[in-house]
Symmetry: C2
């Protein structure tokens, strides 16, 4: 088999852990596999480089920032290759220009456009274990780019797709994807298999186990992903195409997010273009608006409510107030003390009454729902921040433990 393995920053966090990773890689190789390994920077290294850059300049140049940050993965890749060679196996480390990982020009959040696998295939053919520096690429001019936080996941999946690998293993510091956050819900269980669609929803809802873009890539090229721990040998979670068996489970997982805040613009005259006047300034400021709800208008006057990340709350309030003044809205209300709970499952497609059951569960627990948003395989409710943990437990009990 051709296997792509990816090890995160904590898995290569120090010399001892790098040696441990080297052993795992060699074991996989000794079992008769061709192995390509993608590594992140050693834990903490990227943050150290970022703060160094901020000492130089408040607003460091993005091209130079990428050139700077790319050194983190180059370092861990070289050290891992050394460790493997020291064990007597043949290995080579490659950075982006050598692995030919081509991206667009968007420094700091580049997208992979193409991977020319010739060099990697040549090294594999010579019996080498190939270590690729994650997170980085080069654009058509040969400038170094980076793929954004968690970008090494995308490097791994994109390489697996380009190499037509049999499997992409993502090694991390958790044992897989869970039915809920085990720190909140002790009954949460590891999920054996989850569909790409479900994983995408969970990633969007704040689960940090995989970068969203890596899951999109995996789905597009049908790359099976195995998310597992680098600290033990337990089976983790397979992320794969949904099948009929999977759809039998209505709810795969309960997700929550406490890093949201809510803003309501009251007394908005309901005429075309109003929404744009509110949301364009937010978009320009780089603020990601999550849920948007517009009430049915009464006498041509309506309310507009939306959620933003808590860190952007102050800035968003200010922009919303400016927009409200311009469009003659009555007032702007803000609430930082909200949270979001969601249930996710491809089974919802073929099961009815799921939303009703969710609302009922929350109602029985005396939890008030402030906003609702749904997709084909997800229902999210915004609730009071103080109710979030209880909501997760109740939903987990109702939808997962009862199944």
């Amino acid at each position: 088999m051709l296997i792509v393995q990816k090890y995160g920053g904590t898995s290569v966090g120090d010399v001892k852990r790098i040696r441990n990773v080297a052993k795992r890689v060699v074991d996989c190789f000794k079992s008769g596999n061709e192995v390509v390994v993608v590594v992140s920077a050693m834990a903490g290294q990227t943050d150290r480089l970022i703060s160094l850059a901020h000492e130089i300049s408040e607003d460091p140049d993005p091209r130079e920032m990428d050139a700077l940050l790319a050194t983190g993965e180059q370092t861990s890749a070289a050290l891992l290759a050394m460790a493997i060679k020291a064990m007597g196996y043949s290995a080579t480390s490659l950075v982006a220009f050598q692995a030919r990982i081509l991206t667009d020009d968007a420094h700091g959040r580049a997208r992979i456009s193409e991977i020319d696998t010739k060099r990697i295939r040549k090294e594999l053919k010579q019996g080498k274990i190939v270590i690729v520096a994650g997170f980085q690429g080069i654009n058509h001019e040969g400038n170094i780019t980076t793929l954004g936080r968690g970008g090494s996941d995308t490097t791994a999946v994109a390489l697996a797709a380009a190499l037509k690998a049999d499997l992409c293993e993502i090694y991390t510091d958790v044992e897989g994807v869970f039915t809920a956050d085990p720190r909140i819900c002790p009954e949460a269980k590891k999920i054996d298999a989850i569909s790409y669609d479900e994983m995408l929803e969970l990633a969007s809802l704040g689960a940090k186990v995989l970068q969203i873009r890596s899951v999109e890539f995996a789905q597009k090229y049908n790359v099976p992903i195995h998310v597992r721990s680098s600290f033990n040998h337990k089976e983790g979670t397979m992320v794969v195409e949904a099948d009929a068996e999977m759809e039998k489970i209505v709810v795969r997982a309960v997700a929550h997010d406490k890093n949201q805040a809510r803003i309501t613009v009251r007394g908005v005259v309901d005429r075309p273009g109003i929404a744009a006047q509110i949301f364009e300034p937010l978009g320009q400021a780089g603020i990601v608006v999550d849920m948007i709800i517009q009430n049915t208008s009464e006498d041509g006057i309506t309310d507009m409510t939306f959620t933003v990340p808590k860190v952007d709350f102050k800035k968003a309030m200010q922009l919303a107030k400016e927009a409200a003044d311009k469009i003659g809205a009555k007032k702007v209300l803000g609430d930082e003390h909200i949270g979001k709970v969601s249930i996710v499952g491809v089974g919802m497609r073929s099961h009815s009454g799921v939303a009703a059951k969710m609302f009922q569960t929350l109602a029985q627990a005396g939890i008030n729902i402030l906003m609702i948003s749904t997709s084909e395989i997800k229902i999210s409710c915004v609730i009071d921040e103080k109710d979030v943990e209880r909501a997760v437990k109740e939903l987990h009990k109702a939808f997962i433990e009862s199944e």
Copy 2:
């Protein structure tokens, strides 16, 4: 003018110093020059990476070592470019694969074979200050190589040659090349101009101000070098082709080296091939033998004395003893407590009696000469380690202060 500037590790040792370098670079640019800057890794960084590698493996793989070490200069180049951009000037950092610095395959001590200056010229034409990561190159397979300690000097001079630059400025933590080490000889003066040949001798004799190879490059392509301090604005030392004016000075500088040890193989049968049997094992072990002296043989039996770096003394003694056993030599003597003093000057070519004056000066000071070696523009004497500092002062007085 097109100027190549090189800043060493102490000159870019921290954020404040990087900002200071940025100011100097911008000043040079504002004076109407095209500026290419070569940087070393921040002081201490290379040593930190080396010790990290040694934690992974006692004998780290050379290819991976180069990939690892190259991150040091990539980091300082990106930070310097950021600092210049933060001042409102246009700049771009380039690593070896972008600057197209091609080398041979000798990892850890690669030689530059070619520089394709197209990219650098393009960036200069766009009005940018170009920052190049020193010390590194790529071989024909696109593997990262490094040029050895002090290699950034060579990067700078090679770039100056390839770009046909008007001047190569080497910024360092000393004010230039001195007539002797000022820490030993307070009367030592900064040299305004020195010839390539003299600089080569001084570099070979242990002066660390420029890497030998960079001087060879400068001489080959006739690149004028200005060695100066990055901490003040004083004129430093120009390294240029010798002219008639220069030859008027007999001795340009007094050099010394305490890092030598002496080994004597006694009672060697004087037949062809004997020298090879002693020195081949040393060469294979990577030990650089400096002086070699073979006495005139008496009854077909001779002695062989040579010097090696002090750090290699134990290993060299062991190899010499093995060789002595094989060739049936009587015994091997070693002495770690020696030093070398030298006088260097192109003027020696046209002045006679220089050697005699040197020997006399040492004799008058009661300093015993153990070994002598000469070249056209240099005379070196091996003496007792305890006499070295006194010898430097006496020779400086006799040859330089008296002129």
